[in-house]
Symmetry: C2
Subunit: 343 residues, 2 copies
């Protein structure tokens, strides 16, 4: 890459580099979290997050029902709010639609979105619909959070333990089953359908917040910021741990055998396949949290259902995947995967 | 159009019809304004508005600089907030970008946005960037408003007068000059540039709000809702008056000779051309307000620079364009133009 910026193309850069360029135009304090926080409103912070989904990039209108696309896009945005410690207030939906698109697909899209949102009494409060050669879905979700309960990425401390709120790998295995039905052998139909449902109907973990907060406090507001950091695992578990550590200037050791996997993986996938889905598959929309040991174990106990302590925050500069049993050598986890959107 | 909804295409419907279908999924109370209002936050209402812009639909990357697209997209969203009586808190920007797009164009886009936003100390607080075959810009702006100072569309009352906060037609005439430079004759270069600037650098009328509110109250909060309704003229002056009247269940008479036009139109355009730009051109981003006569005249006097009373709200079912001088017969203004996005 030479110095001629005017001839540079987006595809020359990759997402991270492009964001760096664009972030110069944003206030420094708002960069690097799942959602934006505005503190101008009294008592509660306004938390805002936005996502854009494009046909044939993030989904395929041909193979995915509007309902599934709608549910998943709403879930992804609510998950970003949950990852910030925020309760949703509403979303806006901007749509770009080709003239030839079936109206029923758009209706299903909204049905899927509202089905997911209604679980959390969250309204669609506005939108825009325009003509576009490609189906485009731009969702902005906003929520509110107690400023002392905001969950940031950059507060992980050495000695914290790392908690995941549920199993990982199910959503991406479900997608694989949709794309390659023949790979289901020897899964039972019930197990196959459960994995596909994990992909089609992921649940944002807003239910974790009251449990998490109750461990630290009485229901009233805390007096100082809670010692929690984290984000969601929408881009994969490895990505989440590495992003948190990078933002916090710490390292971590993740114990290979502690990563909770779907029981349906047993006897279907090899250890390597299972771990690949869990670490890099993405879209499980669980929370990945770093917090002191005692409340972490209390949280895991209260959550049940796949929640687990998977590792420890260290003073190293890397995130290591370690095998307690010593069968596999340590591996360094990196951000390399999942950031090639423009290639 | 037969009853087979599953085969219906978006292009079969037009925007209004499609929105009707989609609005079934939204709470009834939030439909029909420039921006969404949430009352869950204490004291101030949160006001949210969203716009999606597509290359070759709303702008052309080939003929329009990123800076102009950025400024205008930010201005359009801030104008929606101003039209609600809300002061901006921030915007989010979702971008879909083709891999082959020049990075410099994207930088210019952000430069244009921030140049407009900085006038109002409004930050870009978040965003998303994804790959798309077509440049897509999804902006969500949110602001706050005193609930008693919210400006709705549906509160126009018979006897109110109609105020515009500035001249109309300049922005669309400027666009015409960009598309057909030869049409400038016999405009001076200075006049031509002023009209082009009206298109490229429109100003959201947030400056109107403190003046408007001060006419009704002391700077402290009002005790009852202000008797103001309105919206912005982004889709043209005719559209704004008709929309307000339709939402309020009233009619109006607009006096042809009272519509403020750019002085540069004199000796360049015919009366018909000038009126066409003013009524249907759009993107002037002025406010169109209905309010009682006395405060209306106070507002016009304090605003100066093209602000004018252009008509009266009536108990008729139509919006009539009338010529005081009697040279032209009454015309009924309709929404017909500007709603053919999917045709």
């Amino acid at each position: 890459m030479n110095g001629d910026l005017s001839s540079l193309q987006v595809q020359d850069l990759g997402e991270q580099k492009l964001l760096q360029i664009l972030q110069r135009f944003c206030p420094a304090e708002i960069i690097g979290d799942d959602a934006a926080v505005l503190s101008t409103l009294p008592e509660q912070s306004l938390v805002v997050t936005t996502d854009v989904l494009i046909d044939n990039v993030h989904f395929s209108e041909v193979t995915t029902s509007g309902k599934d696309v709608g549910w998943r896009s709403a879930a992804a945005n609510l998950s970003d709010l949950a990852a910030m410690g925020a309760y949703p207030l509403g979303i806006t939906v901007g749509l770009g639609l080709p003239g030839t698109l079936r109206v029923s697909w758009v209706e299903q899209l909204y049905e899927g979105m509202t089905a997911c949102l209604q679980q959390y009494k969250t309204p669609i409060v506005g939108g825009d619909v325009v003509r576009s050669p490609v189906i485009t879905i731009a969702i902005t979700a906003f929520g509110q959070a107690d400023p002392l309960r905001l969950i940031r990425r950059d507060k992980a401390k050495i000695g914290d333990v790392i908690v995941v709120t549920g199993v990982h790998g199910a959503a991406s295995a479900g997608l694989e089953l949709l794309l390659h039905p023949e790979s289901a052998f020897p899964l039972s139909n019930g197990d196959r359908d459960a994995l596909i449902k994990a992909h089609q109907r992921p649940q944002p973990r807003l239910d974790v917040l009251p449990i998490l907060f109750s461990i630290f406090n009485s229901p009233t507001a805390p007096l100082s910021p809670l010692p929690i950091s984290g984000m969601d695992s929408s881009d994969g578990l490895a990505d989440a741990v590495v992003q948190i550590c990078h933002a916090s200037g710490v390292g971590a050791v993740v114990e290979r055998t502690q990563i909770p996997l779907p029981t349906t993986f047993d006897g279907w996938l090899t250890n390597e396949q299972a771990l690949f889905y869990a670490l890099y598959g993405g879209e499980d929309f669980e929370l990945v949290l770093c917090l002191p040991k005692e409340p972490a174990h209390a949280l895991v106990q209260q959550l049940g259902k796949g929640a687990a302590v998977i590792g420890t925050v260290t003073d190293e500069s890397t995130v290591l995947l370690r095998d307690q049993k010593g069968e596999y050598p340590d591996q360094v986890l990196t951000l390399n995967r999942g950031f090639q959107h423009f290639s």
